[in-house]
């Protein structure tokens, strides 16, 4: 007997749309009260600025990866108060404030496209998908600053193997959650939403590429891409897409947000490369947060030994 695969559950099936909309109305009322409180909060902040961001839930049972760097970690407060997450505003201190009430549960990541087993994973499934590891990686932003962060996650390859990419799959496209109601500050920041990123399949399968669910021993704070994000340590930070809801295996190189905004400034590959300047600033050096003097930027952010074979024979000036 042939058992047909049940139709995929759509996100909109989970909550009837009417309730979904009504809940917003309810929340709108609450938002008025919230705004009044926030006004008081701002005054309080001026008097005694917050020094700690909202802490996440402790994660346990993760191992320490030998792929970690032994460089000193950037203080937690720097990593949580200095963010690029344009959905929550374009200033570095915006996301810590504006993402505070970001709803990250329930959460599903849909994996689809050229795969044998398209699936929707909830956070429980993702947390149990593979053994969690702590990986202390350098992260180099395209804006020439850098941090060292103990991420917690597992190789993206484990997730991709679960859905079995077909031979047609050549690239992986990622998409960030976008809800203009939860993310009113996204408007006017000059980039298109939902935020998109992409990798070549071999880059996605590389053991350094991480599905990240936590940092500093805890679940991710909203401003750092809760509940699940990507970490690609040898590429500029914007490739490490946050708050992922969709992963699609595709045949052609997918469109990516910063590349769409300024194709001459942000390439699809965006491998960290001190020799290829951003048209408007040098990439030769970087400022590690917490340090005064700039340090030289390393090719592939110091991961050249592990990844440069992915690009052998490629002109990295052309494919920047």
């Amino acid at each position: 007997m042939l058992i047909k695969k049940p139709a995929d559950l759509k996100y909109s099936d989970i909550t009837p749309k009417s309730i979904y909309v009504d809940r917003r109305k309810f929340l709108a009322g609450a938002a008025g009260v919230g705004a009044a409180m926030l006004g008081g909060r701002v005054v309080l902040d001026v008097i005694s600025p917050r020094t700690t961001a909202l802490a996440g839930t402790k994660l346990s049972g993760y191992s320490k990866s030998p792929l970690s760097t032994n460089e000193p970690r950037t203080p937690y407060n720097d990593v949580t108060q200095y963010n690029n997450f344009y959905e929550f505003g374009s200033d570095k201190d915006d996301p810590a404030v504006n993402a505070k009430n970001f709803r990250t549960s329930p959460w599903t990541v849909s994996v689809e496209g050229n795969v044998t087993k398209p699936q929707k994973f909830d956070m429980d499934a993702i947390l149990k998908m593979a053994p969690l590891e702590e990986r202390i990686y350098r992260l180099r932003c395209v804006e020439a600053w850098s941090i060292v962060v103990p991420w917690i996650g597992f190789p993206l390859s484990a997730l991709l193997q679960k859905v079995e990419p077909t031979p047609k799959a050549k690239f992986v496209a990622f998409e960030t959650f976008y809800d203009p109601k939860q993310m009113p500050k996204a408007r006017g920041t000059g980039i298109e939403f939902p935020y998109r990123e992409g990798l070549r399949l071999d880059e996605a399968m590389h053991p350094l590429t991480l599905v990240c669910v936590g940092m500093y021993g805890e679940t991710l704070p909203p401003q750092d891409g809760a509940p699940v994000r990507l970490i690609v340590p040898w590429k500029y930070g914007f490739k490490s897409i946050k708050s992922i809801v969709k992963i699609t295996l595709v045949e052609k190189q997918p469109r990516t947000t910063w590349n769409m905004a300024a194709p001459n400034e942000y390439g699809f590959y965006s491998n960290v490369n001190p020799k290829v300047d951003h048209p408007r600033w040098s990439q030769a050096k970087e400022r590690r947060l917490g340090e005064f003097l700039k340090r030289p930027t390393l090719p592939f952010n110091g991961y050249a030994d592990q990844v440069e074979n992915l690009y052998s024979g490629m002109d990295l000036r052309k494919y920047f």
């Binding site: 600025p49 203080p75 407060n77 720097d78 108060q81 200095y82 344009y86 374009s90 570095k92 201190d93 804006e143 600053w145 006017g188 920041t189 000059g190 980039i191 905004a261 300024a262 408007r280 600033w281 040098s282 400022r287 947060l289 917490g290 005064f292 003097l293 700039k294």
Partner: protein, 198 residues
């Protein structure tokens, strides 16, 4: 005194660790904002005197303008001493290569003669007309400042556009006044011609 508040705030924050995870960037952005604010204020004084009827405001123009220079000095100094840490070859390369730095640097250079000749003695030495002509360089500085900002942001152009529209309005006011004066003069000449003819 009020004009010193932003600088004092920066100083206070610097001693209390309030400059955030990237203090040098914070100082650079903060001083940059204040340059544009003071440039806009300087340019707003003449229109405010005429349109709002506060001729006395002229007393503040020199001071406000000098504060624009003061904050550019801090901004430029931050870049030299903190950001680039006196790496002269790199700075020269940046000024030549990065157009936003080229234009920002130009704006700063143009302010130097204005700051130097801001004293009463220099007004006398140059003569009112020439002094005024020289000090119109501030128009270029303001435009350079806005372009500098516009060219350096990644994608969110709202703030540079805001400063840009203020500078545009303030310069448009001057152009309009000029045109009106010229028309009035032309009309006046025409009238005098008519009266001599009759």
């Amino acid at each position: 005194m009020l004009c010193l508040v932003p600088a004092a705030r920066l100083g206070w924050k610097a001693f209390h660790g309030g400059l955030g995870p990237n203090p040098i960037e914070f100082i650079t952005h903060e001083t940059g904002d204040w340059i544009l604010i003071f440039l806009v204020l300087t340019l707003a004084i003449t229109p405010a005197r005429k349109l709002l009827g506060f001729p006395d405001l002229i007393r503040f123009r020199r001071m406000v303008g000098l504060f624009a220079f003061f904050y550019s000095f801090l901004h430029f100094g931050t870049w030299i001493g903190l950001d680039k840490f006196f790496d002269w070859p790199e700075m020269v390369a940046d000024v030549a290569k990065r157009r936003y730095i080229t234009v920002g640097f130009t704006g700063f250079l143009l302010m130097i003669p204005l700051a130097v000749t801001s004293t009463a003695g220099w007004v006398r030495r140059l003569g009112g007309k020439r002094w005024q002509a020289l000090h119109r360089l501030i128009y270029l500085t303001a435009v350079a400042g806005v372009v500098h900002y516009y060219w350096l942001v990644k994608s969110d152009v709202r703030k540079p556009v805001m400063y840009g529209s203020m500078v545009f309005l303030l310069l448009a006011y001057r152009v309009t006044v000029r045109l009106q004066e010229r028309r009035r003069r032309a009309a006046g000449q025409a009238r005098s011609l008519v009266s001599t003819a009759s």
